[in-house]
């Protein structure tokens, strides 16, 4: 595969959320506002990139028997670093994302990429894969969060857009709205991919 494709595949074709259906927990939970979606996406991308780099470098030294605990330690280390940095430098993000940052450890996108890609590829493809998957995750979260924030609160990134014209449909910032919106998004992406393939 061309290195360029290692990067682009994560954006639509193998989008971790919309095509691989991974990492739903943070996807559904934090996407009440576009800012949260962006913050979560950025934090996850950082962890994904870090763990992909370290694991692709260490893979051949790690015995098969203990590879999962080793990967988890690596991932948890990056997650803790992100958590501490957010606490130190962005109280706003800390308040909104709170508990979901430590939970990046169990985001199956990250362990999934470590198992399925980083441990059997060299450094450069692993970096591109991490960045692409992270970007795909971030984009999916931001689109989902923007739709929910727009319909549920009339704003995007707290900028009023529909305020005054359409009353907010509160259900969109509640959990059911997350499921509904995500379902429609997945259906749309699958539809267009099928059409392209046919």
């Amino acid at each position: 595969m061309h290195p360029y494709q290692e990067f682009t595949k994560g954006i639509v074709k193998e989008n971790p959320v919309l095509r691989l259906l991974l990492g739903f927990c943070p996807t559904l939970a934090v996407t009440t506002t576009a800012v949260n979606g962006l913050g979560m996406g950025a934090a996850t991308t950082f962890v994904l990139l870090g763990s992909n780099i370290v694991i692709s470098l260490l893979a051949r030294y790690i015995p098969d028997k203990v590879r999962i605990p080793c990967y988890i330690v690596v991932i948890a280390t990056f997650v803790t670093i992100v958590d501490l940095l957010i606490q130190a430098f962005s109280q706003e993000l800390n308040k909104n994302l709170g508990i979901f940052i430590p939970l990046i450890v169990v985001n199956c996108i990250i362990l999934g990429r470590a198992e399925a890609f980083a441990n059997r590829n060299r450094l450069i493809p692993a970096i591109l894969d991490g960045l692409g998957m992270g970007l795909g995750f971030t984009l999916a979260l931001m689109v989902l969060a923007s739709i929910r924030e727009l319909l549920g609160n009339g704003t995007i990134f707290s900028i009023p857009i529909l305020t005054g014209t359409l009353p907010p449909i509160i259900v969109f910032i509640l959990p059911p709205g997350a499921f509904l919106t995500l379902g429609v998004m997945i259906a749309a992406v699958v539809y267009f991919e099928k059409k392209k393939g046919a």
């Binding site: 330690v73 803790t80 670093i81 549920g152």
Partner: protein, 223 residues
């Protein structure tokens, strides 16, 4: 045979060392940010500039006494909470006059439903409590339960919870300052267990304290 153990041990060792270093770097900024949040929260809810604050902890409650330059008690901040929120605990910071009347409050942490229960934190909703206290016949229940508290539409549970939290704060005020005769004079306060001098100094002169911390951090990096 022992290789897996060895590899895992080395990875854990490296990881914990790294985390130790990051923790060292971020511990000061995190403490600073939390301190700043508190100061900011107090500044938000009092109708005057908050500069001279002393912190006191009595019987598990935290009180912030806001004084004027001359040392006269101008207001009291009380941390209070309720466990009866729609999604669990709600922590608020209540701002009272020395006579125990409410200036305002600020929701510090909550998991109430966005767009719905969270409206208990809105300025429009908070207005109804301004100037209220324990002793003027205001019933600290929502109207549905026969009280005087307006509920947020479709969020009665959250409204009950905030009424409970405020009421607890007013009780805490009564515990420390008495029901009817508040004693604004310094030293006349009963039951002081601990007055944290360190917090007091960093509160009263936030700028110089911050500079000190920043300087300390720089030293840490150099040393």
């Amino acid at each position: 045979m022992l290789r897996p153990v060895f590899v895992l041990a080395v990875i854990c060792l490296v990881a914990s060392t790294l985390l130790g270093i990051v923790n060292q770097i971020t511990i000061a900024p995190i403490a600073e940010a939390q301190q700043q949040l508190k100061t900011q929260a107090l500044g938000d809810i009092f109708p005057f500039a908050v500069e001279n604050v002393t912190t006191a902890k009595t019987g598990g409650a935290t009180y912030y006494e806001v004084r004027s330059g001359a040392g006269e008690l101008k207001g009291i901040g009380i941390e209070t909470f309720t466990e009866q929120g729609y999604s669990g605990r709600i922590d608020i910071l209540l701002a009272l006059s020395p006579e125990g009347k409410i200036f305002d409050y600020k929701v510090l942490s909550t998991k109430e439903t966005p767009g719905l229960g969270i409206k208990i934190a809105d300025g429009e909703y908070r207005k109804q409590f301004h100037g209220k206290g324990l002793s003027d016949g205001f019933a600290w229940k929502v109207k549905k339960d026969g009280g005087d508290v307006d509920a947020v539409t479709a969020a009665t549970i959250s409204s009950r919870a905030i009424a409970d939290a405020i009421h607890r704060g007013l009780e805490r005020y009564k515990d420390r300052y008495g029901a009817t005769s508040p004693s604004p004079a310094k030293g006349a306060v009963k039951g002081v267990d601990a007055v944290t001098a360190a917090t007091a100094s960093s509160f009263s002169t936030p700028n110089s304290a911050d500079q000190g911390k920043a300087a300390a951090r720089k030293l840490q990096f150099l040393g």
